[in-house]
Symmetry: C2
Subunit: 760 residues, 2 copies
């Protein structure tokens, strides 16, 4: 009997261990240098807490002027830097705009210094120098030695709790700083209000309200110490405070447990023995201090840091094992780091009890789903959400539900543009929620009411007051006089409208289909047959003069010039090709895009891109042309897709800190990598079709949530063999360069035969 | 059958109507001129909403300096003023410090002006001139005509909802202004954050966060209009806002439904027919917008303003009928207006669903009680809460529970000093919660756990870091070097400690009794036998030099000089008398107090008092000597109590706008009036004893919650007959000048026989 039980346990154990240790391939440091804007710290898949070092917290303003450097610190950490100013609990992954950085914690020793110091003089504040040789960044774990006090800082996380472990040298003057005014993208009025309650000598709770990218963002917290602090205190940097009134009765600077103000830094004093570890659990909530505490108590029992770290890495392994690949080591590193980056955003926004703060700043209970925040939809509708429809359909279902909740809570009656901590920050063009929703419904992933979802899409798309939609509806384009990004918006609306039309067709809403399929043709209104380019048009119907196909600035585009954006008709390449002179001319034009030389002036006025993020004139570091390499499939020269995709995979993704050629953009860059290295890509989400490229892996097995597996097998895989010679789907020759979503979900095998020469 | 039913209804109706219409005696305008600091607007008993006009909202600072005028506007309205700037929803009754004034609403016509204008140029803004001849102020109802646009403004209220009714002349340009940055006691940094959501064309919700007297006060609201607005908009006065980011996509000034910022004024446009009424329901909550809406829907159905007004006045009548008096008209006006003022504060702080925001800024459900806020305890422990123990015991029980909840939510582990909208504003000296708690328990009013309450009292009284308590415990007094109000604090702590001792005795906690009865003697440490005065003492044990018995400033007192404060031993007059040279010398000293001349310099440095608030050197307009007129009862000359009490009743309370000689102080001045006009007063709450004075009424019947009645009958009542000749309690001669609380609750009859000469 005992033996039988042992056997069962053993079998179970073996089965669990069938999961490979894929965490070892994840290098969170990739993308932390130059343009990637990733962070190296600890988080779990879709975790609400991202506990990561800040190498600086610079201000939006420098000497009263806008500081362009501020966007370097989107993720708080720059690999190039030599000092760490602290470890904060919220970070965006790969965005081009800065925000977050809540609750900066820093261990120090010796004389208490509450100011952060500077990179050039870290010893003038609580900052420390560090070196990469003393740094470890893994999925769910980060470690660094702080020079010269030799404090070892380690961190890990659960979904809603960050765990710190600081190993101190012996000292009567060990401190832990909690800087409640630090933040990424800081400026004078950023901190709206902060409240802290010292419950006892190991627990504090409170909240911090900031504005910024979100107008009204409140994060509640509970912070628990493994050892009682001896003293604590605060400095308030609010300046003159006539309102303090009778609060002057207290010395609020020391051991005073009810702290409030706009700009507060706290400290906690300890006496430490040699190598003594002080640990911190730091839980977040969008709803209340009580919920933060409940999150903490639910997710971490006791003070076993190693156990929490092991669990964090186990949760990463579980997600990473959904795709097992055979590939060279550097591809594996790129691939699993890309998977890691795709599974960071959106982030869980419900507490363990199901509550979250809605867009209307009221508390809700998410019934039957997990509410998510951090939707960078302009980026992620392209490949990240389509990737989720394959590998994370349950989560994507919940993400669509979160978008619908956002819509229902919106006084504007709009789906999210960029959903951000109970706010919409309205970043970028289009209304790409509708793409994500249509794609999820058309692929059978959404189990909510599809008609309600369609209604939300239509209402959003008819919001005349928003970003030129009124003109767009009346004229079929947005006059250049009315918007600096009139062309981007028109092109993206047209694609989004096509998504709505597809959804309407599926739901047999012929009138909506007719209306939106017509709108989806609006790209034609910005197409100038005389030049062959998408161009800004004036209200009088004439194209704006002084057109420059190379420039972004003042040309009606955002994050892309006309050379890139003129290809932005993902939903109707056939007509675009016809307009552009037919397949041959079109392919030749694509050739030019990938080989042309971009002048330096291009970079001066284009956000978030450097020469490293481009190939010829093709800008991979920004998103608008992410589908373009696949357009050769619509010409008679699909092998050029294969060549270009393989080139992008190799040039734009490297297993080094500076390995990303552009912002990871909440996983969109990484999702492109995963699709493309598997050999296919969703050119137009909202369609169930994937265009074939050139796989990078030798073999890949995708384990789907429906229990089936989809296998990609690559015969004759070599660096030189970028060209597809033959493709079999379940053993049968694939007649086109396209597969369908149902081919994947049915559990198929796609076999590529590669060669060094184009198969013409 | 039909006839029988009618009869039953008729009988029921008659029974209900047995209640007298006492509302007609209530003149909310009393105290609005000069020092009373009352407001004339609409509220219901203990209502969470106080909807009342502001005649100005002046700033704490004027030209960068402290503006002494700010305290004129504690209640927002000064009878002396000629203009009204708007109607806001929260007001303090009779305080000496300014705060509140949330959500200022104003109807206007013609050209939209979003600035408030000035008193000298009301037409330069949304302000209007008005005259008292066009003004009606009743319990639960306020009406005024706004010159020159002839808009009639009327308001009434339920517990949590203010109802406005504006009668407009015909115009295509009628507006309702909602000023979300206005406030009483305003200054630059007062507004922390404001959020407004326009749900539809008749409903908006939101919240406003301010600091000030409370450090972190958030009031949520829901505002409903009886008629859809045609347009709406806002101006934001925050100044430079780098954080606005992509919100620039919207024209937020007009018809934009998601509004946020620090300083916001909104407007709503209407077209009105001649004499068209636009009504508003404005509900408040401390917890959420949803709760505010729920409060609105629960308390007001439909748009019948008259019905809401009738209900409001019915609720006042119900409370006022608890004491029926026979007295001359002007006494009735004073008496019922005093009752009205005693039933305004504290205010209900739970929503209809039982939720409220606790001191720790977290949401709670008040289980089995109503949570109250606005506890001006330094004032109200003296007579207001003792009055509640007689006439509102159920509410006072809930108030003690509210104080215990405050204690349990306090990170400082302290009972409230001045409980104020989920904050403590820490105003004034002492820790008088303990008096209210002890009095309620000793009088059998509190049904919570008395031992838990005693523990809270003891913990509060041993909070060494608070206001010199540490020194007080170590030395028996507070060194003058350590505090500007060292003597006030020591004297008041000593009295409070006596209350704790009485409670400990009742609960058989001998050790606590011993400790605190000893502490209750600490008043002796500030008594200088050489001068016969309470004086500030230095740490070395010497009295501070330059003592001035007439001055308050720099003498260790607050709101009182040594002449008044030297009598502050309410719990031990016997020993005080002995110290001061025996009964005769003591009485003679009281004579001097009531006849001496206070120099002008006294007023220069004493808060909240003018010559009208004094009799000789006795300051009735402030509280510290409120018990002193009754001290003659401990000498052999009780008739002097009778004479002085009658004099104070006549001189300090008049049925005119300037009728209150000092701040009403959340009802304490009024409670003094009620007790004294009934013929007795609680000299030392915590004792069950009341000292006899000289009744002003002819007759009074108090209907108690236990179903019994307590009757005061006065024989030979005349203005000249101020002296008590004989007192019968239930027909038997009262042997002393004291009655007991149990005499009242048992349902007794107290008969005074009055005469024009002292009965020696």
């Amino acid at each position: 009997m005992k033996y039988a039980l042992s056997l069962v346990l053993l079998l179970h154990f073996s089965f669990s261990n069938a999961q490979e240790n894929l965490v070892k391939y994840v290098k969170p440091i990739i993308g932390t240098e130059k343009m990637g804007h990733t962070y190296p710290g600890a988080t779990v898949p879709f975790g609400a807490v991202q506990l990561s070092p800040e190498t600086d917290t610079i201000s939006y303003e420098l000497n009263g002027k806008y500081n362009g450097e501020v966007y370097k610190y989107c993720a708080g950490y720059k690999y190039e830097d030599k000092t760490i100013v602290g470890f904060s609990h919220t970070h965006l992954n790969g965005t081009g705009h800065s925000d977050l950085g809540d609750f900066l914690v820093m261990p120090t020793q010796g004389k208490l210094q509450l100011n952060p110091g500077t990179a050039s003089n870290p010893k003038g504040g609580y900052r420390y120098a560090f070196s990469h040789s003393n740094e470890i960044a893994e999925a769910g774990y980060y470690k660094v030695k702080l020079d010269d006090d030799n404090i070892i800082a380690e961190m890990t996380a659960t979904t809603r709790v960050g765990m710190h472990q600081y190993t101190f040298p012996k000292s009567d003057e060990s401190h832990i700083i909690l800087d409640l005014m630090a933040g990424i993208y800081n400026y004078d009025e950023k901190n709206v209000w902060t409240y802290v309650r010292v419950v006892n000598d190991t627990l504090i709770t409170g909240y911090r309200q900031t504005n910024g990218w979100a107008r009204a963002r409140t994060v509640y917290f509970a912070m628990s110490f493994s050892k009682p602090f001896v003293n604590y205190g605060q400095e308030n940097y609010d300046g003159k405070q006539p309102y303090r009134g009778f609060w002057r009765k207290f010395d609020q600077t020391k051991n005073f447990p009810e702290i409030a103000g706009k700009k507060i830094r706290m400290y906690f004093d300890f006496k430490t023995a040699e190598a003594e570890k002080i640990k911190i659990q730091f839980a977040l909530s969008s709803v209340s201090q009580g919920n933060a505490l409940e999150n903490m108590q639910a997710e971490i029992k006791g003070w076993d840091f190693e156990k929490v770290k092991t669990e964090a890495q186990k949760s990463w392994n579980k997600e990473l094992n959904k795709i097992k690949i055979d590939a060279p080591e550097d591809v594996k590193v790129n691939f699993y780091t890309a998977m890691y980056h795709t599974f960071i955003n959106p982030t869980v926004y419900t507490d363990v009890n199901g509550q979250y703060k809605g867009l209307d700043q009221e508390s809700y209970v998410a019934k039957g789903f997990v509410n998510y925040s951090t939707f960078s939809l302009w980026d992620t509708y392209r490949a990240l959400h389509p990737f989720f429809n394959i590998i994370q359909p349950k989560r994507n279902n919940d993400m669509v539900k979160s978008m619908m909740a956002h819509y229902n809570q919106s006084a504007l009656h709009m789906l999210p543009i960029w959903s951000h901590y109970s706010n919409d920050n309205w970043c970028m063009s289009g209304y790409h929620s509708v793409s994500v929703i249509a794609d999820a419904i058309l692929k059978g992933v959404y189990d909510g009411d599809p008609n309600e979802a369609l209604n939300a899409c239509v209402t959003t798309a008819k919001h005349r007051d928003y970003e030129g939609i009124g003109s767009y509806m009346d004229l079929g384009f947005i006059p250049a006089e009315k918007s600096g990004i009139s062309v981007s918006n028109t092109l993206e609306y047209a694609y989004d409208d096509w998504c709505i039309a597809q959804l309407a067709k599926k739901l047999n809403k012929q009138d909506i289909y007719d209306e939106f399929i017509k709108r989806s043709d609006n790209w034609k209104n910005n197409y100038n047959s005389a030049t062959g380019f998408m161009q800004p048009k004036l209200a009088n119907g004439n194209f704006k003069d002084k057109f420059d196909s190379m420039s972004t600035e003042g040309q009606g585009f955002i994050e892309g010039n006309s050379w890139n954006y003129s290809f932005f008709v993902p939903h109707n390449p056939t007509e675009l090709i016809a307009k552009m002179g037919g397949k041959k001319a079109f392919a030749s034009r694509l050739d030019t895009l990938f080989t042309m030389h971009l002048p330096d002036s291009f970079f001066a006025h284009t956000e978030d891109i450097t020469r490293e993020g481009i190939i010829g004139g093709y800008v991979h570091g920004n998103e608008p042309a992410h589908h373009v390499a696949y357009f050769y499939n619509w010409t008679d020269q699909p092998w050029k897709t294969q060549a270009q995709v393989r080139k992008i995979l190799k040039m734009q993704y490297k297993p080094t800190p500076d390995g990303l050629g552009g912002n990871d953009d909440c996983g969109q860059m990484s999702a492109w990598y995963i699709f493309s290295s598997l050999g296919f890509y969703p050119v137009a989400p909202g369609s169930n079709e994937y265009a074939i490229g050139s796989p990078l892996v030798n073999n890949a097995v995708l384990t789907l949530e429906n229990g089936k597996t989809f296998t990609v097998e690559v015969i004759n895989q070599k660096d030189a063999n970028v060209y597809v010679q033959k493709i079999l789907l379940n053993g049968k020759t694939l007649p086109t360069f396209f597969i369908n979503h149902s081919d994947i979900t049915a559990g198929s095998k796609l076999t590529f035969y590669m060669g060094s020469k184009p198969k013409k």
